[in-house]
């Protein structure tokens, strides 16, 4: 009857474990409420208009992506991210990591594991940071087995939030900032900024770096990459030295009104909840649109459908022009391909390729940030505008160049209205890729799992 005692926090730890314990279920014995909700990130039943926990094959939803990424692993398979629960499954199953077996290596480096598991800080502790990144992705296949979890964000001693990924600390260092001196509210975003950020692999040894030295805007990062003449890959059709943008959610979020008003990621993606009078942080990290009552409505009095409509309206308006830019980029790549075909010279193409690089970079910055269109719609829209301008500028130059080679008309738009057609168009042998992957999943993954199980049996845990 009396619920006054609820105000007092009841905590009786059940187990004691080490600082780098990677298994969520072990931490979960001490913090069942957080653990149970966290395991709910396995839920794939919610799909919003563009996001949600469901599996979405982005290449099927939008086959133009295949052409934009021709020559790069993303053209093989790319999905909209889902719950943290799937981080390991997804990186194992994705075609991008290939089928490393029978002496073959994965086309990806070990660095790819960095944002997928609390085994990462554990192994980094053991072998060192630079050493961890080295080698191909399969090198550490048996080491990395637990999906993203408690040890990624929490100090085992006191449950304080902590940063476990060196790339973030180093990026702060290079900007002359001390990440140990930030506020608690900042930490509620910075734990996410370990992963939900644009990154690249520096040098031969694929050291993970966040490209923030010149600032956080799309232009700042572009300038950073240009000053290194860095490229992620060379485009298969246009031969452009390309940049790939990856989920700059933290960077874009910071340019929006919610960040300016002091919100952190956790305010919307990990709202507080009450259960039996206990307040705690909802660890089912997901789209806030699946939980408007506890997120938006804390600050906004509008009805749920209205708030959801606000989000969709922003996403729709940005998508309209992003789609346009996508089409223009396909055209630019194809037109550049035509120019090469007609014998265009390196020096004639240089300015054009630089434009294509910059335009696609801007497109990708927005496309890769799945929350961006809501987090900071005005900035996203601004960036898309500049991308359209630059893409079209490259096409004006191409029109002149093509004309000078005697081709003075529109270059036909390729027939790429399904993922299959598009992948065929850029010359991918999907059957082989899929068959190899299937074999890899059947034969190699179970071995990795078994090794991991054996290893984990040796971890010291004390029952209290």
């Amino acid at each position: 009857i009396e619920r006054r005692t609820e105000a007092v926090f009841a905590y009786t730890p059940k187990v004691e474990y080490t600082q780098w314990e990677p298994r969520n279920e072990v931490w979960g014995q001490n913090f069942p409420r957080q653990y149970n909700r966290y395991m709910q990130t396995a839920d794939t039943s919610f799909a919003s208009k563009y996001n949600g926990g469901a599996m979405r094959d982005m290449l099927a939803e939008d086959p133009r992506l295949v052409v934009l990424w021709a020559g790069y692993a993303f053209s093989k398979e790319y999905s909209q991210g889902r719950g943290h629960y799937y981080a390991i499954n997804d990186i194992q199953n994705i075609l991008r990591t290939g089928a490393p077996m029978e002496g073959q290596k994965s086309p990806q480096p070990s660095t790819c594991w960095t944002c997928k598991s609390p085994d990462v800080p554990r192994v980094m502790q053991e072998v060192g940071i630079a050493e961890f990144y080295k080698g191909s992705w399969d090198t550490r296949g048996a080491e990395i087995m637990n999906f993203i979890g408690c040890a990624d964000c929490h100090d085992a001693q006191n449950m304080n939030l902590r940063i476990t990924r060196p790339a973030l600390v180093e990026a702060y260092d290079r900007r002359g900032l001390d990440i140990n001196k930030v506020s608690h509210q900042d930490m509620r975003s910075l734990v996410c900024a370990q992963c939900h950020v644009e990154y690249y692999f520096q040098g031969e040894d694929k050291y993970l770096v966040f490209p923030w030295d010149k600032g956080f805007t799309v232009e700042d990062v572009e300038e950073y990459y240009d000053s290194y003449t860095f490229k992620d890959w060379t485009h298969a059709i246009s031969k452009t030295p390309m940049l790939k943008a990856q989920h700059p959610d933290f960077e874009i979020f910071n340019s929006g009104i919610h960040a300016q008003r002091g919100l952190s990621c956790a305010d919307c993606h990990m709202p507080y909840m009450n259960e039996g009078g206990q307040k705690f942080t909802d660890h089912k990290i997901q789209s806030p649109l699946n939980n408007v009552a506890n997120t938006c409505q804390v600050c906004h009095r509008e009805e749920t459908p209205k708030l959801i409509a606000n989000v969709y309206e922003r996403q729709d308006k940005i998508k309209q022009n992003r789609d346009k830019l996508e089409e223009l980029l396909v055209r630019a790549h194809v037109e550049a391909g035509k120019a090469w075909e007609l014998g265009a010279k390196e020096i004639e193409m240089q300015a054009i390729l630089q434009d294509i690089r910059h335009a696609q970079w801007r497109w990708d910055f927005i496309a890769a940030s799945h929350g961006g269109s809501f987090h900071s719609p005005i900035e996203c829209s601004r960036i898309i505008s500049t991308g359209i301008d630059i893409a079209q500028e490259s096409r004006i130059k191409l029109a002149r160049l093509l004309a000078s080679y005697g081709y003075n008309k529109e270059v036909p738009y390729p027939d790429i209205d399904t993922k299959e057609k598009a992948q065929k168009y850029i010359g991918l042998d999907m059957q082989k890729l899929n068959a190899d992957k299937e074999k890899f999943i059947k034969e190699v993954i179970p071995q990795w799992k078994k090794q991991a199980e054996e290893r984990e049996k040796t971890y010291a845990i004390k029952n209290l």
């Binding site: 009396e2 507080y272 909840m273 009450n274 804390v298």
Partner: protein
């Protein structure tokens, strides 16, 4: 009437158990009345609202607002047009809150209900009518009063008096005079085992 009472009196052989039951019910009623400090709800003291900690965020924000000096919760949240609606509303609301609280069905983010909105709006107007309505224009224009009074005051005065952030956990560390437990110490010691 007498007939009615007669029909309510149980047959003889039931009289004793019924008496016992009634005693138990009555005792339980007194007990819960006491333990939930229901008596306090007859008063206008804001501290009674935080009898149950659910209301702490609103208490804390009110307590930091300019309205603290002049305005108790009930000044805003209970009708003041007449004695009967005052207590009727209070009882109705109070019982619903208590029920939801006891069932642990309170939402994380509590929203004021439509009925409550009207009550509060009328109370804003009750105190501030001199400021918001121009006597002169009322003479002049029959619509002036409704034009001025139909829009919710807190559409603009968003932060009056509870601020904008609304959640059971929005004032986690607020220092509020949580009432002392009405359960005697000896009973707690006995039941704690």
């Amino acid at each position: 009437m007498i007939h009615l009472i007669k029909r309510l009196i149980p047959p003889d052989k039931w009289k004793f158990p019924v008496l016992i039951m009634l005693g138990i019910f009555f005792g339980l009623f007194i007990y819960s009345f006491h333990i939930s400090k229901a008596t306090s709800y007859l008063s206008d003291n804001p501290e009674t609202c935080i009898n149950c900690h659910i209301m702490v965020p609103q208490y804390a924000t009110w307590n930091h607002s300019s309205h603290r000096e002049f305005t108790s919760c009930n000044e805003c949240h209970v009708p003041h047009n007449n004695f009967f609606s005052h207590y009727y509303f209070k009882a109705k609301d109070g019982l619903r809150h208590a029920t939801i609280f006891t069932l642990r069905a309170e939402p994380q983010v509590i929203h004021i209900k439509e009925a409550g909105v009207q009550v509060v709006q009328n109370n804003c107007i009750r105190c501030h009518s001199n400021l918001i309505n121009s006597a002169s224009l009322m003479v002049h224009n029959v619509n002036h009063k409704t034009n001025r009074e139909t829009r919710l005051c807190w559409e603009c005065h968003k932060e009056t008096p509870h601020g904008r952030v609304n959640s059971l956990s929005s004032t986690p560390n607020a220092l509020v005079p949580l009432l002392k437990s009405p359960v005697p110490q000896w009973l707690k010691e006995l039941t704690d085992k």
